[in-house]
Amino acid sequence: MDLDFTPNEMMTIAAARALSNDDICFVGIGAPSAACNVARLTHAPDITLIYESGTIGTAPDILPLSIGDGELCDTAVTTVSVPEMFRYWLQGGRVTVGFLGAAQLDKFGNINTTVIGDYDNPSIRLPGGGGAPEIASSCGEIFITMKQTKRGMVEAIDFFTSFGHGAGGNAREKLGITTKGPSLLITDLAVWKPDLETREFTVTSLHPGVTLDRVQETCGWMVKCSADVETTVRPTELELTTLRDLQARTDAAHSGAAA
């Protein structure tokens, strides 16, 4: 097998590795869904995956296109109503890790998926927050995944859809938030963790073949790097096979249907 891999695959696999068998994980769509299911199919078979549609403990054989595909329900331990999901399971403090993506992200893990430009007269109206505002405050910690671009990783986001570390430091505590907030950022180029003091995302690991210059070129803020930056461990054959098989099953299933 060829162990070449794409930046996207590295991102997904690095995110998968951050999850453990005991995690209760609130999953979004796209990269987080792939990462969570690769974790489940490799080193974390007992991980609990929760989708906000109400499916708890799902084990889909293919990746859902939406957060409410039938496959999620068919393989779930139980499926609850959406009000129950947000009250008992998210707000109830049952979720250890929430995965979020971002249209815009700042260096303190604050996320915008609401508008580009002014709220009342936006240049781009984005979908909005969905579950994100409370995922960001109620989950034990938050993992963020996104592809690096200067438009996406910005010095100042246009709208605070969900709160990360605010202006840094103990901003969460000051607002009475008791959860850890963004503790990990995994991009297609690097792994980032918040500085213990400032809470600014700091590169702790560069994916194989990636230079710090390239990380900076695709990031809108001045990149900081930990003293002992590492190289992300390359995907193993098992990880890559698992991810590619999952994607292949998914593509086959989704291309089957037509209006």
Binding site: I29, E52, S53, G54, T55, P64, L65, S66, I67, G68, D69, G70, L72, C73, T79, V80, S81, V82, P83, M85, F86, R87, L90, Q91, T114, Y119, D120, P122, S123, I124, R125, L126, P127, G128, G129, G130, G131, A132, P133, E134, A136, S137, S138, F159, F160, T161, S162, F163, G166, A171, R172, L175, G176, I177, H254, S255, A257, A258, A259
Partner: protein, 285 residues
């Protein structure tokens, strides 16, 4: 008491210009046929509510029926943005719409409060979030025991809610199974409720004791519309038409293409076409 009637009659009798209306469904069981009938009947000045407004809301907005949208996530699930909604918000085309934007937790709690007959819902939310600054309907309540400040939102109480369900029985009770979303709450919170169903069966004798069942006296109208959720799905009947969601992104990206598609597939169509649309998507029983 509940009426069994055609979707055309149910929309005519229950949805009026200026109404506040929810067409609810959470990816699963989205009431497309009912929304298309509302479009055909040309309702105007609607305040439309949904946690996850998707294609049918994009269509209603694009057709100029919507005065205000109350929502928490407006996207084409798994595909991207809603291009007709973007056009309305960014360019006021075909007209300006007002937005009342919440988080999912807020909307879910607001429906729950509506079903529970309460004027508002309280929850731990919006901490550090920007929506508080742009939505006057996000307020605060202080816990009289701990002093904790909680978020409060008004209960959602639609004039009428439309949902799609798997089954009704001949008495008019309604069964929803699988991903049940917020539909029970949306029905109980509303003054009137219209339910399209895949089929009407004799009885629910084989239904689980704790399944999500709406008793007949909570429902205004039941319409048998097989395939009525397409391109969404009905668990146990047919699968999601993912290709249609992908196609929509192209259709909605151009005003003329959109208009032509609406004319052909909605205005000139009827509820019966939905049965054909799911012909290749039926689940093996």
């Amino acid at each position: 008491m509940v009426k069994f009637q055609s979707l055309k009659d149910a929309v005519a009798e229950n949805l009026f210009d200026g109404d506040t209306v929810a067409f609810e469904g959470f990816t699963h069981l989205i009431p497309h046929a009912a929304a298309h009938e509302a479009i055909r009947q040309g309702r105007q000045d609607l305040t439309v509510i949904r946690m996850t407004p998707d294609l049918v809301y994009d269509q209603m907005i694009g057709m100029g029926m919507v005065k205000k949208l109350i929502f928490s996530y407006a996207g084409n699930p798994g595909v991207g943005l809603l291009r007709r909604m973007r056009d309305a918000v960014e360019n006021q085309w075909p007209k300006k719409i007002e937005l009342e934007e919440h988080s999912h937790a807020a909307m879910a709690n607001a429906y729950e409060a509506g079903a529970a007959g309460l004027p508002c819902a309280i929850f731990r939310g919006y901490k550090g979030a920007g929506l508080k600054d742009v939505n006057a309907n996000i307020r605060e309540v202080t816990c009289p025991f701990t002093g904790e400040v909680l978020a409060a939102v008004p209960a959602v109480k639609p004039d009428v809610t439309f949902i799609h369900a798997q089954k009704a029985n001949k008495r008019g009770d309604v069964l929803i199974e699988g991903i049940i979303g917020v539909q029970k709450e949306a029905v109980l919170a509303a003054k009137r409720a219209v339910v399209t169903v895949e089929e009407i069966v004799d009885n629910f004798d084989d239904v689980h004791h704790n399944a999500c069942v709406l008793p007949r006296w909570t429902v205004t109208s039941i319409c048998e519309v097989p395939g009525g959720a397409h391109p969404s799905y009905a668990h146990g009947y047919y699968t999601r038409d993912n290709a249609a969601y992908l196609d929509w992104d192209k259709i909605a990206s151009d005003r003329d293409v959109f208009a032509a598609w609406m004319q052909k597939n909605v205005i000139d169509a009827n509820p019966e076409v939905f049965a054909d649309r799911i012909a290749t998507l039926r689940e093996a029983k």
